[in-house]
Assembly symmetry: C2
Homo-oligomer: 259 residues x 2
């Protein structure tokens, strides 16, 4: 099955896609925006990392475009230090995606490395120069013969997990629903009133992110994930929310409990 | 006055510092983390951009460290396209800080440019190669003789404003207070209950961000900015919040209305 996702070969998104799809034919894109704009119907995008937080590009593009979330995939993230150098003491600079750099903050400080940001962990391996190392998946080291693994599991925390969404797949019964809430105006207590639509109908929020509407400082929209089936309670909560904000339903999906 | 801030010369943080401090002696640091760890007592850090959203590194470091916010500074952001090339048609790649790249998304798409991420807008100018351009302040072009300005005001939106915080300056009366709320546990309706501590005491929230605690997927702390003086209502709201979460007061400061 053809699936658009963030490349190149060996990214964590690639690993997550191999975990979820039985017969994966990956269409590698160079940015999350290209994934959303790809002609390939099915897509896989990162939504949140347990250390770095929400993935802003994905949240903004879910708001702008008409894709439907059909499944959640969780992948434990294990970064390796990959280099052409023989010793870690010869490494002065570390290249990686900003999220991976932020996930290995303690390791980078301990070895006093300079950080260089790359568009993906796999691109960091491709762009390595002398005296440099990359933070990436072990798979990314196997693609390139000139480099090897200097150290494994260098992330700050082994609870490092990234969540991905499958877009436009088969819809099924689900436990979680993602919504975009656009209040349009700001007034005291508005967010609290909106949240009472969830608690008042017995629905727990698993996740909330405020994001700028790009229309001026202090104007926000909200991305929320509610723990609910697609039942009567969700419909009532949505009716309640519509009295405060424009509501977009991004889809209902099963929680990934596979870890 | 010595102030630690994000360098090199010509960054927007540098411009904001020149706007606020009369007798600025800048101590340029290469990351926001270095600014926080600098021996220089007074610091200036970006907290939010109207297009890109909250600055994650600053929010996480405000939580981790013991700095006090003493003032807010707002700076309108105007990006120039800076290059050694003569014509925009000779430019294939654009380098800049991820926030600036996200703020010029429409311009980058229109000219079909490849994006390369840099640690600062000023570093993007320094690292320019043939066929490339940087998105940075006009001031950053003046520092380097080999480049010139190909286009001005290329940001998607003229409402592009960045807010900065002055840390450890003179404390004074203020209208806004920043707090870190750490619930420690998750339960249905908890965020709504915390927000009712503000609305119940007549305090409006200007800003709220959820950030991962780095202790596992789905565990968050909250950064909030409340519109209030340092009066009795704030004390009552904090007592109410303390029944739900650990509360850290990051300081009270005046809103910057200078634009």
């Amino acid at each position: 099955m053809k699936v658009a996702l963030l490349g190149p070969e060996g990214t964590y998104t690639h690993q997550a896609a191999e975990k979820y799809f039985q017969d994966l034919e990956p269409e590698f894109c160079s940015t999350i925006e290209e994934v959303f704009k790809s002609d390939v119907d099915k897509k896989l995008v990162p939504i949140e990392n347990s250390l770095g937080g929400g993935v802003k590009d994905t949240i903004d593009l879910l708001r702008q475009r008409e894709e439907k979330i059909s499944a959640e995939v969780k992948l434990p993230i294990r970064h390796a230090l990959i280099s052409g150098e023989e010793e870690i003491s010869d490494v002065k600079t570390v290249r990686s995606h900003p999220q991976a750099l932020s996930q290995c903050r303690e390791f980078i400080e301990e070895h006093d490395l300079e950080k260089k940001e790359e568009s993906s962990t796999a691109a960091a391996v491709e762009n390595l120069e002398s005296g440099e190392a990359a933070l990436a998946s072990k798979v990314a080291a196997e693609v390139n013969e000139e480099v090897h693994i200097l150290d494994e599991n260098v992330q700050d925390d082994d609870s490092n997990v990234t969540r991905f969404f499958v877009l436009n797949g088969e819809t099924s019964e689900g436990e979680k629903t993602s919504l975009i809430l656009e209040p349009g105006e700001d007034r005291p207590g508005l967010l609290g009133s909106m949240l009472s639509c969830f608690s008042g109908h017995g629905i727990n929020l698993a996740h909330i992110q405020s994001r700028p509407t790009r229309e001026g400082l202090g104007e926000y929209y909200f991305y929320v994930e509610a723990e609910t089936g697609r039942g009567e309670n969700l419909d009532k909560a949505k009716k309640c929310l519509e009295t405060y904000a424009e509501v977009r339903d991004l889809g209902t999906y099963m929680e990934d409990d596979s870890q």
